[in-house]
Protein backbone atom coordinates (compact mmCIF):
# COMPACT_ATOMS: atom_id res chain seq x y z
CA UNK A 1 0.00 0.00 0.00
CA UNK A 2 2.82 2.38 0.86
CA UNK A 3 4.63 1.67 -2.38
CA UNK A 4 1.45 1.97 -4.37
CA UNK A 5 0.59 5.34 -2.87
CA UNK A 6 4.13 6.58 -3.53
CA UNK A 7 3.98 5.52 -7.17
CA UNK A 8 0.54 7.05 -7.47
CA UNK A 9 1.77 10.33 -5.96
CA UNK A 10 4.89 10.49 -8.18
CA UNK A 11 2.88 9.75 -11.32
CA UNK A 12 0.30 12.37 -10.43
CA UNK A 13 2.94 15.03 -9.81
CA UNK A 14 4.68 14.17 -13.10
CA UNK A 15 1.44 14.52 -15.07
CA UNK A 16 0.69 17.86 -13.40
CA UNK A 17 4.21 19.16 -14.22
CA UNK A 18 3.95 18.08 -17.85
CA UNK A 19 0.53 19.64 -18.24
CA UNK A 20 1.02 22.96 -16.55
CA UNK A 21 4.72 23.81 -16.36
CA UNK A 22 5.52 27.09 -18.18
CA UNK A 23 7.61 26.87 -21.32
CA UNK A 24 10.78 28.93 -21.09
CA UNK A 25 11.78 30.43 -24.41
CA UNK A 26 13.64 33.69 -24.11
CA UNK A 27 14.36 36.58 -21.77
CA UNK A 28 11.70 39.18 -21.14
CA UNK A 29 13.24 42.60 -21.61
CA UNK A 30 16.28 44.26 -20.11
CA UNK A 31 16.69 46.30 -16.98
CA UNK A 32 19.93 48.01 -16.05
CA UNK A 33 21.12 50.66 -13.65
CA UNK A 34 24.27 52.75 -13.56
CA UNK A 35 26.00 54.97 -11.02
CA UNK A 36 27.32 57.67 -10.89
CA UNK A 37 25.16 59.72 -13.23
CA UNK A 38 27.95 62.16 -14.10
CA UNK A 39 31.73 62.13 -13.72
CA UNK A 40 33.67 65.38 -13.85
CA UNK A 41 37.43 65.23 -14.19
CA UNK A 42 39.93 68.08 -13.98
CA UNK A 43 43.49 67.13 -14.66
CA UNK A 44 46.95 68.51 -15.17
CA UNK A 45 48.71 65.78 -17.16
CA UNK A 46 50.51 63.48 -17.06
CA UNK A 47 47.79 61.64 -15.19
CA UNK A 48 46.40 58.15 -14.98
CA UNK A 49 42.83 58.98 -14.08
CA UNK A 50 40.84 56.22 -12.38
CA UNK A 51 37.28 56.27 -11.17
CA UNK A 52 34.64 53.69 -10.34
CA UNK A 53 31.38 52.91 -12.15
CA UNK A 54 28.67 50.56 -10.91
CA UNK A 55 26.52 48.74 -13.41
CA UNK A 56 23.73 46.40 -12.30
CA UNK A 57 21.46 43.94 -14.06
CA UNK A 58 18.05 44.42 -12.43
CA UNK A 59 16.35 41.72 -14.49
CA UNK A 60 15.86 38.01 -13.81
CA UNK A 61 17.97 37.00 -16.80
CA UNK A 62 21.68 37.14 -17.51
CA UNK A 63 22.76 39.88 -19.88
CA UNK A 64 25.80 40.40 -22.11
CA UNK A 65 26.96 43.98 -22.44
CA UNK A 66 29.42 45.79 -24.64
CA UNK A 67 30.25 49.48 -24.33
CA UNK A 68 30.80 52.45 -26.61
CA UNK A 69 32.14 55.94 -26.02
CA UNK A 70 30.02 58.63 -27.67
CA UNK A 71 31.38 62.19 -27.84
CA UNK A 72 28.75 64.89 -27.41
CA UNK A 73 28.14 68.61 -27.31
CA UNK A 74 25.44 70.57 -25.53
CA UNK A 75 22.04 70.38 -27.19
CA UNK A 76 20.78 73.50 -28.96
CA UNK A 77 17.80 73.95 -26.64
CA UNK A 78 20.10 74.90 -23.70
CA UNK A 79 18.28 72.59 -21.30
CA UNK A 80 21.21 70.43 -20.25
CA UNK A 81 20.60 67.60 -22.69
CA UNK A 82 23.36 66.13 -24.80
CA UNK A 83 23.64 66.00 -28.58
CA UNK A 84 25.76 63.19 -29.96
CA UNK A 85 28.25 63.88 -32.69
CA UNK A 86 27.88 61.95 -35.91
CA UNK A 87 30.80 59.69 -36.78
CA UNK A 88 31.46 61.98 -39.74
CA UNK A 89 31.88 64.92 -37.33
CA UNK A 90 34.49 63.22 -35.15
CA UNK A 91 37.79 65.06 -35.16
CA UNK A 92 41.21 63.50 -34.73
CA UNK A 93 41.16 65.08 -31.25
CA UNK A 94 38.02 63.08 -30.39
CA UNK A 95 39.34 59.79 -31.70
CA UNK A 96 42.82 60.19 -30.22
CA UNK A 97 41.41 61.00 -26.82
CA UNK A 98 38.83 58.20 -26.83
CA UNK A 99 41.59 55.72 -27.61
CA UNK A 100 43.04 56.56 -24.20
CA UNK A 101 39.85 55.54 -22.40
CA UNK A 102 39.51 51.99 -21.11
CA UNK A 103 37.15 50.04 -18.89
CA UNK A 104 38.68 47.66 -16.37
CA UNK A 105 37.22 44.78 -14.42
CA UNK A 106 39.42 43.49 -11.63
CA UNK A 107 42.33 45.37 -13.16
CA UNK A 108 41.91 43.82 -16.62
CA UNK A 109 40.83 45.76 -19.70
CA UNK A 110 37.51 44.46 -20.97
CA UNK A 111 35.34 45.00 -24.03
CA UNK A 112 32.36 42.93 -22.85
CA UNK A 113 30.69 42.26 -19.53
CA UNK A 114 28.39 39.45 -18.49
CA UNK A 115 25.98 40.22 -15.69
CA UNK A 116 24.02 37.46 -13.97
CA UNK A 117 20.47 38.18 -12.78
CA UNK A 118 20.55 40.98 -10.16
CA UNK A 119 24.34 41.10 -10.34
CA UNK A 120 26.19 44.37 -9.88
CA UNK A 121 29.74 44.94 -11.05
CA UNK A 122 32.16 47.62 -10.01
CA UNK A 123 34.16 48.67 -13.03
CA UNK A 124 36.98 51.16 -13.35
CA UNK A 125 37.08 53.94 -15.92
CA UNK A 126 40.72 54.57 -16.74
CA UNK A 127 42.01 57.45 -18.84
CA UNK A 128 45.70 57.63 -19.57
CA UNK A 129 46.49 61.28 -20.32
CA UNK A 130 50.08 62.00 -21.43
CA UNK A 131 51.90 65.21 -20.60
CA UNK A 132 51.68 66.51 -24.17
CA UNK A 133 47.86 66.18 -24.32
CA UNK A 134 46.26 69.31 -25.75
CA UNK A 135 44.67 71.50 -23.04
CA UNK A 136 41.05 71.24 -24.15
CA UNK A 137 37.85 69.71 -22.82
CA UNK A 138 36.47 66.34 -23.88
CA UNK A 139 32.88 65.29 -23.28
CA UNK A 140 31.62 61.78 -23.89
CA UNK A 141 29.01 59.28 -22.74
CA UNK A 142 30.07 55.84 -21.65
CA UNK A 143 27.16 53.72 -22.93
CA UNK A 144 26.65 50.06 -22.07
CA UNK A 145 24.69 48.18 -24.74
CA UNK A 146 22.93 44.84 -24.45
CA UNK A 147 23.83 42.11 -26.91
CA UNK A 148 20.94 40.29 -28.56
CA UNK A 149 21.29 37.02 -30.47
CA UNK A 150 17.60 36.14 -30.84
CA UNK A 151 16.52 35.55 -34.46
CA UNK A 152 12.91 34.47 -34.80
CA UNK A 153 11.75 32.96 -38.06
CA UNK A 154 9.60 35.93 -39.10
CA UNK A 155 9.86 39.69 -39.52
CA UNK A 156 11.22 41.26 -36.35
CA UNK A 157 13.23 44.02 -34.70
CA UNK A 158 15.92 43.14 -32.20
CA UNK A 159 15.80 45.53 -29.28
CA UNK A 160 19.05 46.83 -27.82
CA UNK A 161 19.04 48.70 -24.53
CA UNK A 162 21.71 51.28 -23.83
CA UNK A 163 22.35 53.01 -20.54
CA UNK A 164 25.11 55.49 -19.97
CA UNK A 165 26.78 58.07 -17.84
CA UNK A 166 28.35 61.33 -18.94
CA UNK A 167 32.04 62.07 -18.48
CA UNK A 168 33.38 65.64 -18.63
CA UNK A 169 37.15 66.02 -18.81
CA UNK A 170 39.07 69.30 -18.54
CA UNK A 171 42.74 69.09 -19.36
CA UNK A 172 44.84 71.88 -17.88
CA UNK A 173 41.90 74.19 -17.18
CA UNK A 174 43.22 77.69 -17.74
CA UNK A 175 40.56 79.87 -16.22
CA UNK A 176 36.85 80.21 -16.28
CA UNK A 177 34.66 82.86 -17.88
CA UNK A 178 30.91 83.12 -17.70
CA UNK A 179 28.19 85.69 -18.10
CA UNK A 180 24.47 85.98 -17.52
CA UNK A 181 22.90 85.54 -20.94
CA UNK A 182 19.34 86.14 -19.85
CA UNK A 183 17.51 87.23 -16.75
CA UNK A 184 13.94 88.20 -17.42
CA UNK A 185 10.33 88.00 -16.37
CA UNK A 186 7.12 89.68 -17.50
CA UNK A 187 7.41 93.46 -16.86
CA UNK A 188 3.76 93.64 -15.73
CA UNK A 189 1.99 90.92 -13.76
CA UNK A 190 -1.44 90.84 -12.21
CA UNK A 191 -0.36 88.44 -9.48
CA UNK A 192 1.89 85.59 -8.57
CA UNK A 193 3.46 83.12 -8.99
CA UNK A 194 6.18 84.89 -10.96
CA UNK A 195 8.32 82.91 -13.38
CA UNK A 196 11.89 83.99 -14.11
CA UNK A 197 14.02 83.03 -17.07
CA UNK A 198 17.71 82.63 -16.33
CA UNK A 199 20.39 81.57 -18.75
CA UNK A 200 24.09 81.46 -18.01
CA UNK A 201 26.66 81.36 -20.75
CA UNK A 202 30.05 79.74 -20.41
CA UNK A 203 32.37 81.75 -22.62
CA UNK A 204 35.47 79.98 -21.40
CA UNK A 205 37.26 76.93 -22.76
CA UNK A 206 36.40 74.59 -19.88
CA UNK A 207 33.18 73.29 -18.38
CA UNK A 208 31.92 75.06 -15.29
CA UNK A 209 29.49 74.41 -12.48
CA UNK A 210 27.17 77.28 -11.65
CA UNK A 211 24.88 77.94 -8.72
CA UNK A 212 22.91 80.99 -7.72
CA UNK A 213 19.85 82.59 -6.24
CA UNK A 214 17.35 85.38 -6.83
CA UNK A 215 16.45 87.89 -4.14
CA UNK A 216 13.17 89.81 -4.54
CA UNK A 217 12.64 93.17 -2.82
CA UNK A 218 9.40 95.16 -2.65
CA UNK A 219 8.91 98.88 -3.23
CA UNK A 220 10.14 99.62 0.32
CA UNK A 221 13.40 97.72 -0.19
CA UNK A 222 12.31 94.86 2.06
CA UNK A 223 13.34 91.37 0.99
CA UNK A 224 10.11 89.50 0.33
CA UNK A 225 11.34 86.42 -1.46
CA UNK A 226 14.28 84.24 -2.38
CA UNK A 227 14.54 81.52 -5.02
CA UNK A 228 17.54 79.18 -4.96
CA UNK A 229 18.88 77.96 -8.28
CA UNK A 230 20.05 74.40 -8.76
CA UNK A 231 23.71 73.84 -9.64
CA UNK A 232 24.22 73.40 -13.36
CA UNK A 233 27.08 72.01 -15.40
CA UNK A 234 27.69 74.15 -18.48
CA UNK A 235 29.99 72.93 -21.21
CA UNK A 236 32.62 75.20 -22.75
CA UNK A 237 31.23 77.76 -25.20
CA UNK A 238 27.64 76.90 -24.45
CA UNK A 239 24.60 78.33 -22.73
CA UNK A 240 22.33 76.64 -20.22
CA UNK A 241 18.92 77.42 -18.81
CA UNK A 242 19.11 77.52 -15.04
CA UNK A 243 16.42 75.84 -12.98
CA UNK A 244 15.24 76.03 -9.40
CA UNK A 245 16.07 73.44 -6.78
CA UNK A 246 12.43 72.51 -6.36
CA UNK A 247 11.42 71.92 -9.96
CA UNK A 248 12.41 72.73 -13.52
CA UNK A 249 11.04 76.27 -13.67
CA UNK A 250 12.32 79.17 -11.59
CA UNK A 251 9.20 80.35 -9.82
CA UNK A 252 8.62 82.79 -6.97
CA UNK A 253 5.41 81.33 -5.52
CA UNK A 254 4.03 84.50 -3.85
CA UNK A 255 0.42 84.96 -5.00
CA UNK A 256 -0.72 88.44 -3.95
CA UNK A 257 1.53 91.13 -5.39
CA UNK A 258 1.15 94.89 -5.49
CA UNK A 259 3.59 97.58 -6.57
CA UNK A 260 7.08 97.63 -7.97
CA UNK A 261 9.46 94.76 -7.25
CA UNK A 262 13.20 94.45 -7.77
CA UNK A 263 14.69 91.01 -8.46
CA UNK A 264 18.44 90.54 -8.16
CA UNK A 265 20.09 87.49 -9.65
CA UNK A 266 23.41 86.25 -8.26
CA UNK A 267 25.28 83.53 -10.13
CA UNK A 268 28.39 81.86 -8.80
CA UNK A 269 30.68 79.67 -10.87
CA UNK A 270 33.74 77.79 -9.75
CA UNK A 271 35.66 80.11 -7.40
CA UNK A 272 35.09 83.27 -9.38
CA UNK A 273 33.36 86.49 -8.22
CA UNK A 274 29.59 86.46 -8.28
CA UNK A 275 27.84 87.65 -11.42
CA UNK A 276 24.74 89.69 -10.77
CA UNK A 277 21.97 91.41 -12.64
CA UNK A 278 18.83 93.25 -11.58
CA UNK A 279 15.41 93.57 -13.14
CA UNK A 280 12.20 95.25 -12.06
CA UNK A 281 8.61 94.28 -12.55
CA UNK A 282 5.30 95.85 -11.63
CA UNK A 283 2.45 93.93 -10.09
CA UNK A 284 -1.09 95.30 -10.43
CA UNK A 285 -3.83 92.99 -9.19
CA UNK A 286 -6.16 93.86 -12.08
CA UNK A 287 -8.80 91.28 -11.26
CA UNK A 288 -9.24 92.56 -7.73
CA UNK A 289 -9.22 96.20 -8.94
CA UNK A 290 -11.87 95.49 -11.59
CA UNK A 291 -13.98 93.64 -9.04
CA UNK A 292 -13.73 96.49 -6.53
CA UNK A 293 -14.57 99.05 -9.24
CA UNK A 294 -17.66 97.09 -10.27
CA UNK A 295 -18.74 96.77 -6.65
CA UNK A 296 -18.15 100.53 -6.15
CA UNK A 297 -20.17 101.41 -9.26
CA UNK A 298 -22.96 99.12 -8.12
CA UNK A 299 -23.05 100.69 -4.67
CA UNK A 300 -23.17 104.20 -6.16
CA UNK A 301 -25.88 103.13 -8.61
CA UNK A 302 -28.00 101.52 -5.87
CA UNK A 303 -27.57 104.56 -3.59
CA UNK A 304 -28.66 106.91 -6.36
CA UNK A 305 -31.68 104.73 -7.11
CA UNK A 306 -32.65 104.69 -3.42
CA UNK A 307 -32.26 108.48 -3.14
CA UNK A 308 -34.27 109.14 -6.27
Amino acid sequence: MRLKSKIFLAGYVLIIILLFAPKISNASGYSLSIYPTIIKIKTNPPALVKTGIRIKNLSDYPVDLSYVLKPFVADDNNSGQVKYLLYSDYTSRNTNFLQRVRILENGQTISEIILSPKQEKNLTLLIDIPKEEEPIDHYFSLVFLTQNQDNPDSSYSQIVEGIGTNVLVSINPQGYKAKIADFSTLPFVSGGPVKFNVKAENIGENFINTTGYIIINNIFGQTVGKVDLAPKNILAKSTAKMSSRENGDIIWPEKFLLGTYRAKLNVNYETYPTLSREIRFIAIPTKQIILLTIIGILIIFIRKRIKS
Binding site: P22, S31, T37, S141, S157, A230
Partner: protein, 243 residues
Amino acid sequence: MRISSKLKKIGLVLILIVIAFIILRNRTIAQSASNNFYTIQGGEIEQKTLTNPGESSDKSSDKTTSIYFGENYQITAGFEDVEDSQPFSFSVSNTIVNYGPLTPTNPVSRTTDLIISKGSSKGYSVFAFANRQLSDINNNSIPDTTCDNGTCSETSAAVWSGNLSFGFGYRCENADGSGCTEDFSKTGYFKQFANDSKSEAYQAIINGFDSRKAKIEYKINISNNQDKSNYSNSITFIAIPNL
Protein backbone atom coordinates in the same frame (compact mmCIF):
# COMPACT_ATOMS: atom_id res chain seq x y z
CA MET B 1 -7.44 3.70 10.49
CA ARG B 2 -3.79 4.51 9.91
CA ILE B 3 -4.15 3.98 6.19
CA SER B 4 -7.12 6.32 5.91
CA SER B 5 -5.25 9.18 7.67
CA LYS B 6 -2.30 8.69 5.31
CA LEU B 7 -4.62 8.76 2.36
CA LYS B 8 -6.09 11.98 3.69
CA LYS B 9 -2.60 13.49 3.91
CA ILE B 10 -1.75 12.38 0.39
CA GLY B 11 -5.04 13.81 -0.86
CA LEU B 12 -4.29 17.12 0.87
CA VAL B 13 -0.82 17.27 -0.69
CA LEU B 14 -2.25 16.52 -4.13
CA ILE B 15 -4.86 19.28 -3.77
CA LEU B 16 -2.14 21.76 -2.75
CA ILE B 17 -0.01 20.78 -5.73
CA VAL B 18 -2.92 21.21 -8.11
CA ILE B 19 -3.78 24.64 -6.66
CA ALA B 20 -0.13 25.70 -6.87
CA PHE B 21 0.15 24.70 -10.50
CA ILE B 22 -3.14 26.31 -11.46
CA ILE B 23 -1.87 29.58 -10.00
CA LEU B 24 1.64 29.29 -11.41
CA ARG B 25 0.72 28.19 -14.90
CA ASN B 26 -0.26 31.78 -15.78
CA ARG B 27 3.34 32.85 -15.20
CA THR B 28 4.49 32.86 -18.79
CA ILE B 29 8.19 33.51 -18.98
CA ALA B 30 8.33 33.70 -22.74
CA GLN B 31 7.99 37.23 -24.08
CA SER B 32 6.94 36.32 -27.58
CA ALA B 33 6.28 33.13 -29.44
CA SER B 34 5.13 32.45 -32.95
CA ASN B 35 4.84 29.94 -35.74
CA ASN B 36 3.38 30.12 -39.25
CA PHE B 37 -0.15 30.40 -37.95
CA TYR B 38 0.01 32.60 -34.90
CA THR B 39 2.06 35.15 -32.99
CA ILE B 40 1.77 35.72 -29.29
CA GLN B 41 3.12 39.18 -28.69
CA GLY B 42 4.68 40.18 -25.42
CA GLY B 43 2.77 43.43 -25.30
CA GLU B 44 -0.39 41.52 -24.52
CA ILE B 45 1.10 39.50 -21.71
CA GLU B 46 0.05 41.04 -18.46
CA GLN B 47 2.53 39.53 -16.07
CA LYS B 48 5.92 40.76 -17.13
CA THR B 49 9.12 40.29 -15.26
CA LEU B 50 10.05 43.85 -16.15
CA THR B 51 11.62 45.35 -13.09
CA ASN B 52 10.65 48.80 -11.99
CA PRO B 53 14.02 50.44 -11.53
CA GLY B 54 12.48 52.83 -9.06
CA GLU B 55 12.20 49.95 -6.64
CA SER B 56 15.91 49.39 -6.64
CA SER B 57 17.22 49.34 -3.12
CA ASP B 58 20.71 50.45 -3.98
CA LYS B 59 21.96 52.95 -1.43
CA SER B 60 25.63 52.57 -1.11
CA SER B 61 26.46 55.94 0.31
CA ASP B 62 24.73 58.78 2.09
CA LYS B 63 25.77 61.55 -0.24
CA THR B 64 25.57 61.70 -3.99
CA THR B 65 28.65 63.72 -4.74
CA SER B 66 32.03 62.38 -3.99
CA ILE B 67 35.02 64.53 -4.70
CA TYR B 68 38.38 62.86 -4.59
CA PHE B 69 41.89 63.51 -5.74
CA GLY B 70 44.46 61.44 -7.53
CA GLU B 71 47.91 62.28 -8.75
CA ASN B 72 47.40 65.40 -10.93
CA TYR B 73 43.66 65.06 -11.12
CA GLN B 74 40.41 65.76 -9.30
CA ILE B 75 37.16 63.85 -9.78
CA THR B 76 33.63 64.85 -8.89
CA ALA B 77 31.22 61.94 -9.20
CA GLY B 78 27.51 62.73 -9.13
CA PHE B 79 25.57 65.96 -8.83
CA GLU B 80 26.43 68.48 -6.15
CA ASP B 81 22.93 69.22 -4.89
CA VAL B 82 21.19 65.85 -5.05
CA GLU B 83 21.02 64.28 -1.63
CA ASP B 84 20.51 60.61 -2.35
CA SER B 85 22.69 58.29 -4.38
CA GLN B 86 20.15 56.27 -6.32
CA PRO B 87 21.46 54.83 -9.57
CA PHE B 88 19.97 55.86 -12.89
CA SER B 89 17.92 52.97 -14.26
CA PHE B 90 16.35 51.99 -17.54
CA SER B 91 14.16 49.04 -18.53
CA VAL B 92 12.76 47.85 -21.83
CA SER B 93 9.96 45.31 -21.83
CA ASN B 94 11.09 43.05 -24.67
CA THR B 95 14.21 41.88 -26.40
CA ILE B 96 12.50 41.08 -29.69
CA VAL B 97 9.57 42.70 -31.42
CA ASN B 98 8.03 39.96 -33.52
CA TYR B 99 5.86 41.37 -36.31
CA GLY B 100 4.69 37.95 -37.45
CA PRO B 101 3.63 37.37 -41.05
CA LEU B 102 3.17 40.65 -42.93
CA THR B 103 0.30 41.04 -45.38
CA PRO B 104 -0.16 43.98 -47.78
CA THR B 105 -2.35 46.92 -46.66
CA ASN B 106 -2.86 45.25 -43.31
CA PRO B 107 -0.90 47.36 -40.79
CA VAL B 108 0.82 45.56 -37.93
CA SER B 109 1.39 47.33 -34.61
CA ARG B 110 3.56 46.20 -31.74
CA THR B 111 4.70 47.91 -28.55
CA THR B 112 7.62 48.17 -26.17
CA ASP B 113 7.39 49.68 -22.69
CA LEU B 114 10.24 51.87 -21.51
CA ILE B 115 10.65 52.65 -17.82
CA ILE B 116 13.17 55.23 -16.68
CA SER B 117 14.05 55.93 -13.07
CA LYS B 118 16.05 59.13 -12.83
CA GLY B 119 17.75 58.13 -9.58
CA SER B 120 20.09 60.89 -8.50
CA SER B 121 20.29 62.43 -11.97
CA LYS B 122 18.67 65.74 -12.88
CA GLY B 123 16.58 64.56 -15.77
CA TYR B 124 17.46 62.44 -18.76
CA SER B 125 16.97 61.80 -22.45
CA VAL B 126 16.19 58.58 -24.26
CA PHE B 127 17.62 58.36 -27.77
CA ALA B 128 16.45 55.90 -30.41
CA PHE B 129 17.84 54.70 -33.69
CA ALA B 130 17.70 51.72 -36.03
CA ASN B 131 20.80 50.08 -37.46
CA ARG B 132 19.13 50.00 -40.92
CA GLN B 133 15.75 49.80 -42.61
CA LEU B 134 13.82 46.57 -42.09
CA SER B 135 15.63 44.33 -44.61
CA ASP B 136 15.70 40.70 -45.68
CA ILE B 137 18.70 38.54 -46.57
CA ASN B 138 18.50 39.67 -50.23
CA ASN B 139 18.74 43.30 -49.15
CA ASN B 140 15.14 44.03 -50.05
CA SER B 141 13.83 46.48 -47.54
CA ILE B 142 10.64 47.96 -46.20
CA PRO B 143 11.08 51.74 -46.55
CA ASP B 144 10.71 54.06 -43.60
CA THR B 145 7.25 55.60 -43.55
CA THR B 146 6.70 59.12 -44.82
CA CYS B 147 3.22 59.09 -43.24
CA ASP B 148 -0.07 60.04 -44.91
CA ASN B 149 1.08 63.29 -46.49
CA GLY B 150 4.67 62.24 -47.20
CA THR B 151 6.21 64.66 -44.71
CA CYS B 152 7.33 62.66 -41.72
CA SER B 153 10.98 61.82 -41.28
CA GLU B 154 13.34 60.94 -38.44
CA THR B 155 13.17 64.57 -37.25
CA SER B 156 9.52 65.47 -37.82
CA ALA B 157 6.31 63.62 -37.06
CA ALA B 158 3.07 63.53 -39.04
CA VAL B 159 -0.22 61.69 -38.98
CA TRP B 160 -0.16 58.11 -40.28
CA SER B 161 -3.55 56.46 -40.37
CA GLY B 162 -4.23 55.46 -43.97
CA ASN B 163 -3.88 51.83 -44.97
CA LEU B 164 -2.44 52.97 -48.30
CA SER B 165 0.51 54.75 -46.63
CA PHE B 166 3.29 52.21 -46.47
CA GLY B 167 6.49 51.77 -44.53
CA PHE B 168 7.87 51.33 -41.03
CA GLY B 169 7.61 53.92 -38.27
CA TYR B 170 7.04 54.49 -34.58
CA ARG B 171 5.41 56.78 -32.08
CA CYS B 172 5.99 57.42 -28.39
CA GLU B 173 3.06 57.50 -26.00
CA ASN B 174 3.19 58.72 -22.44
CA ALA B 175 2.02 55.96 -20.21
CA ASP B 176 2.75 57.96 -17.09
CA GLY B 177 2.59 61.77 -17.27
CA SER B 178 4.77 63.51 -19.80
CA GLY B 179 8.15 62.69 -21.27
CA CYS B 180 7.69 61.85 -24.93
CA THR B 181 8.85 64.74 -27.09
CA GLU B 182 6.33 67.28 -28.40
CA ASP B 183 6.30 65.55 -31.81
CA PHE B 184 4.06 62.87 -30.42
CA SER B 185 1.62 65.07 -28.51
CA LYS B 186 -1.00 64.57 -31.23
CA THR B 187 -2.69 61.19 -31.56
CA GLY B 188 -1.66 59.12 -34.57
CA TYR B 189 1.58 61.02 -35.22
CA PHE B 190 4.49 58.83 -36.27
CA LYS B 191 8.15 59.27 -37.16
CA GLN B 192 10.90 57.27 -38.78
CA PHE B 193 13.70 55.85 -36.68
CA ALA B 194 17.03 57.59 -37.27
CA ASN B 195 19.00 55.26 -39.51
CA ASP B 196 22.51 54.65 -38.22
CA SER B 197 23.66 53.19 -41.55
CA LYS B 198 22.81 56.54 -43.19
CA SER B 199 24.62 58.48 -40.44
CA GLU B 200 21.40 60.11 -39.30
CA ALA B 201 21.68 61.79 -35.89
CA TYR B 202 20.23 59.87 -32.95
CA GLN B 203 16.90 61.41 -32.03
CA ALA B 204 15.79 62.10 -28.47
CA ILE B 205 12.34 60.55 -28.12
CA ILE B 206 11.92 61.22 -24.39
CA ASN B 207 13.14 64.19 -22.39
CA GLY B 208 12.16 63.77 -18.78
CA PHE B 209 12.84 65.28 -15.39
CA ASP B 210 11.07 62.65 -13.31
CA SER B 211 10.91 58.89 -13.38
CA ARG B 212 8.57 57.92 -16.20
CA LYS B 213 7.05 55.14 -18.22
CA ALA B 214 6.46 55.41 -21.96
CA LYS B 215 5.14 53.10 -24.62
CA ILE B 216 6.77 52.85 -28.04
CA GLU B 217 4.40 51.76 -30.79
CA TYR B 218 5.95 50.29 -33.94
CA LYS B 219 3.88 50.18 -37.09
CA ILE B 220 4.48 48.39 -40.39
CA ASN B 221 2.28 48.54 -43.44
CA ILE B 222 3.50 46.95 -46.67
CA SER B 223 2.27 47.41 -50.22
CA ASN B 224 1.31 44.72 -52.73
CA ASN B 225 4.67 45.27 -54.42
CA GLN B 226 6.62 44.28 -51.32
CA ASP B 227 8.32 40.90 -51.64
CA LYS B 228 6.99 38.26 -49.28
CA SER B 229 9.95 37.70 -47.00
CA ASN B 230 11.21 37.99 -43.43
CA TYR B 231 12.50 41.48 -42.69
CA SER B 232 14.54 42.46 -39.68
CA ASN B 233 16.60 45.22 -38.11
CA SER B 234 17.90 46.28 -34.73
CA ILE B 235 16.49 49.18 -32.72
CA THR B 236 18.53 50.75 -29.94
CA PHE B 237 17.20 52.83 -27.07
CA ILE B 238 19.86 54.71 -25.11
CA ALA B 239 18.96 56.40 -21.82
CA ILE B 240 21.41 59.03 -20.64
CA PRO B 241 21.23 61.48 -17.72
CA ASN B 242 21.25 65.22 -18.39
CA LEU B 243 24.29 67.31 -17.57
